[in-house]
Symmetry: C2
Subunit: 394 residues, 2 copies
């Protein structure tokens, strides 16, 4: 077999990322990063592989366990982490940052022994901070994912059939999404939150509490995955909120649209309209330098003025944020929350999801993914935002 090219990133993309990473390394007193997490390895190579990346101030070493098809000009093939010391002078690595918030305890113990260090720091903040600023190449991938998910969402009314359950509609959306190239995998940083292909919430199920820190809950169909659709039949008078997987390129987009089945209350329409207005207000205000907490407060104030604060981001269980970074994973930086210390920066990609729960009707609101430009946020998720009837074509 001809060796495969290992690093799939455009040269300037990798250079931009490394420049930022090395600046943050210097700021946090780290001489070296040791990268084992799939998301971070993908960020630095454009591919998932079994192995490790070592980043120093001047060099990048790729140690690969599997697959073994790459040229040894590009990678160093190893069988286990202990072999790294056979190939490079690990004593010269200085203070190493490991992914302490992500890698298992025993892995860190093993890595630090293999690299002969006991005084180490945390690589996660460096990587999260760098990943928060998307490169042109990354933005193009998120744009592609956004366009694909928008195309799928436009077809949703045509997927609906009278008498369907939430699960049945979700399965049709999943199918269309997969046929449009959706990869299926839903990457979430951290081990606690789990999700399959996203969720479709109908009627009062939207307010059933879930263990996860998602904007909306839902019971799910089994206590082993207590989130999302629970088998509710879609009946006139309820809303159908669709918030499903947007990973078509390795980079995710995040979009929610709400549909009405039959006639729903004026309150539901008003809250839905408010959600769109909040998105627009945040997008306009969110220029580089803005405090993420201020954007959350802008949203919260608008819900107070409208008398909908107690319906904002759930009712029985309210989520404490209105937006979050999106990229390789669904929960990147910055976070738009009351106590967030994040500051909006050029190149951030942020999902904004002001959602409301209306008793007896269900969830309403939209979610859009934006890229931060010098003039504010540009919306990437372009499916129609109005609460359309499920029986109308969009």
């Amino acid at each position: 077999m001809k060796p495969y090219v290992f690093n799939l990133l455009p040269e300037d993309d990798l250079a931009e990322k490394l420049g930022r990473i090395r600046r943050y390394m210097a700021e946090t007193g780290l001489d070296t990063l040791f990268i084992a997490d799939n998301g971070n390895k993908y960020y630095l190579t454009g591919r998932i592989f079994s192995g490790y990346i070592i980043v120093t101030a001047s060099e990048v070493f790729s140690f690969v366990k599997r697959p073994t098809c790459f040229s040894e000009d590009e990678v160093i093939l190893i069988r286990k982490v202990e072999e790294i010391a056979d190939h490079i002078n690990v004593r010269a690595l200085g203070r190493i940052g490991f992914e302490l918030s992500q890698s298992p305890y025993n892995d860190i113990v093993r890595y630090s022994k293999a690299l002969l260090t006991s005084d180490f720091g945390n690589a996660d903040a460096v990587m999260m901070a760098s990943r928060a600023i998307k490169t042109t190449y990354e933005i193009s991938k998120i744009r592609t994912s956004s366009d694909a998910l928008s195309a799928v969402y436009r077809k949703i009314p045509s997927m609906y059939q009278e008498g369907m359950s939430d699960i049945e509609l979700q399965v049709e959306i999943e199918r269309q999404s997969r046929l449009h190239g959706n990869l299926g995998i839903f990457r979430i940083i951290g081990q606690e939150m789990e999700l399959n292909m996203g969720s479709v919430l109908v009627g009062d199920n939207a307010d059933n509490p879930s263990p996860y820190d998602f904007a909306m809950g839902g019971s799910g169909i089994d206590p082993s995955l207590p989130v999302g659709a629970d088998g509710t039949i879609i009946r006139p008078g309820s809303t159908v909120m669709v918030d499903t997987n947007g990973n078509f390129t390795g980079y995710m987009t995040d979009m929610t649209r709400t549909f009405a089945c039959g006639e729903v209350s004026d309150t539901a329409y008003a809250a839905h309209r408010l959600s769109i207005e909040i998105c627009e207000a945040i997008a306009k205000a969110g220029v580089p330098g803005t405090k993420a907490a201020d954007l959350y407060n802008l949203a919260a104030d608008m819900t107070v003025s409208a008398g909908l604060a107690d319906r904002f981001m759930g009712h029985n269980s309210q989520a404490g944020f209105v937006g979050h970074g999106v990229g390789i994973a669904i929960n990147e930086w910055p976070v738009l929350a009351p106590r967030s210390r994040d500051v909006i920066a050029l190149g951030n990609v942020i999902a904004i999801e002001p959602k409301f729960v209306i008793d007896g009707v269900g969830a309403v609101g939209v979610e859009n993914t934006y890229v931060v430009t010098a003039n504010g946020m540009e919306k990437l998720t372009r499916a129609p935002e109005d609460m359309l009837r499920l029986d109308e074509e969009i």
Copy 2:
């Protein structure tokens, strides 16, 4: 709202698990287990929640962060792990086992501070050993998943249409599976291996190396998830190996079936037949007390006799096992591998997957999930095993 019942397990099921866990705790010198992992929490409660379980020699404490809908007779509601010390005497917990192979380094540091301990051990081996022996209740869940996946697999020939790609067939299988109640989530212990809903491998793509320790590889359609279907059109002369998600109940089953498109070579049929024979031989030999390594060697010897050893479990990249435990996760104990020290025990649930790659044709073989009884292994995955033509109904 009326409080929800927290622990969903039958009483005798939980009692059996706790009995085994406490025996292993005593054997490994642990007085207490501190459980944070979703799979382990599900094992002990029948539900996923945000929080922790503490198991001592005489008590079980459930600390719940979210959702907050449970009765305080059953759970202790907390906001953060540090509050545990307000509710129980953490100094009396003795030597604590944390999930050192699974929980992130920083989480372990935080937990050990919160519980005022610095001398701790590893809970993972205890939990893995207990989870390897399935209770009657767990086996009934795996049986349900097996029957559901068998029903889906029987429909595969009816999903096939001429000119389809591997992805298109996979999407139809996923859709049918989801409509039969598949939960979608694919739990794998450890952070490295990732998979969406399993894989469909057509022709030579089966031998493309993947970074994961799976029996077969496949390129995938994107380097961010380099496994499985790669867009190959299903053409006469190739095989179609289907190995997709069997999680219908929180407990997984694992089943592979291979279909032929048109005429395939006699070698392919012979290797497929050998796979079925290896399954049958292992199932017969696998009585309690058998060494797992002996079962691997039994399989390997049969491939040598048949002259197919270099095609066994891949060719360009061969996997080093022929079977693995299945339960809440796809990679439980025991492992049937040459250097495994596991011993087959009553109540093990094991997937056996002797697979072969035939040049120019593709992957062949079956995978079945078995429960170990006193007389050997009982097969739970009952879809027909012969390599049927995709255009025949099964």
